[in-house]
């Protein structure tokens, strides 16, 4: 069965520190990769996605993720986090052979403190 693994359920970090949220997926076929973010009391929002081309993708608020096919990973990074980045982050994958449904990881709760 296809799966997405987010090993860290919670990541506490101080403001202005760097952070990496890890995501690994299982696949032997082509994939599309997504990071969604859920701020408190809100729905999921797309943060960034990898479809093809450059393996490094960026969001408008300073996050980036790198697709690594050999390691089947799509880790999310930010060099300097802000209090407003406190949220739950979900890695998701869609497989070209299974139409458009998303397979999600269990989520990583990022807690940024002063």
């Amino acid at each position: 069965a296809q799966s997405v693994t987010q090993l860290d359920s919670q990541v506490p970090v101080f403001e202005e520190a760097p952070v990496e949220l890890r995501c690994n997926y299982s696949s032997s076929v082509s994939v599309y990769l997504f990071w969604y973010v859920q701020y408190p009391n809100q729905g999921l929002q797309l943060l960034l996605k990898y479809l093809s081309g450059s393996t490094l993708v960026e969001s408008i608020n300073g996050f980036e993720a790198e697709f690594n096919k050999s390691q089947t990973s799509f880790h999310l990074r930010k060099p300097s986090v802000h209090i407003s980045d406190t949220a739950e982050y979900f890695c998701a994958v869609s497989y070209t052979g299974t139409a458009s449904k998303l397979t999600f990881g269990t989520g990583t709760r990022l807690q940024v403190t002063l």
Partner: protein, 115 residues
């Protein structure tokens, strides 16, 4: 443009009762998805509508769950009778195109608690 809306935002029911969740997708989006997150676990796919047709319902847990999308607009998800393990957050999402790389827009979710 209005986003995906879901109603109610919270529902608390007793075991054995019936609950109906509603999702209004973004206008013009033919594709509508239902997902569920049981506390502490991953968000799991339930089913996918293309217009009013069920394209994929492989994630529906059992026959106590009934999803409809009459007229290809809003969708309802009925749970009858509800069991304790049905508790969780039910998300609805919609997308314009039926391809794996198209962005899905999510609603805020309905938190269902079965006591």
């Amino acid at each position: 443009e209005a986003g995906v809306t879901q109603f109610p935002s919270h529902s608390v029911i007793e075991k054995g009762q019936t609950v109906t969740l509603r999702c209004d997708p973004i206008s013009g989006h033919d594709n509508l998805y239902w997902y569920r997150r049981v506390m502490g676990k991953e968000i799991k796919f339930l089913l996918h509508f293309v217009k009013e047709s069920k394209q994929d319902e492989s994630g529906m847990p059992n026959n106590r769950f009934l999803a409809e999308r009459t007229g290809g607009t809003y969708s309802t998800l009925k749970v009858q009778p509800a069991e304790l393990e049905d508790s969780g957050v039910y998300f609805c999402a919609s997308s314009q195109v039926w391809v794996a790389k198209d962005e899905q827009y999510f609603g805020p979710g309905t938190r269902l608690t079965v006591t």
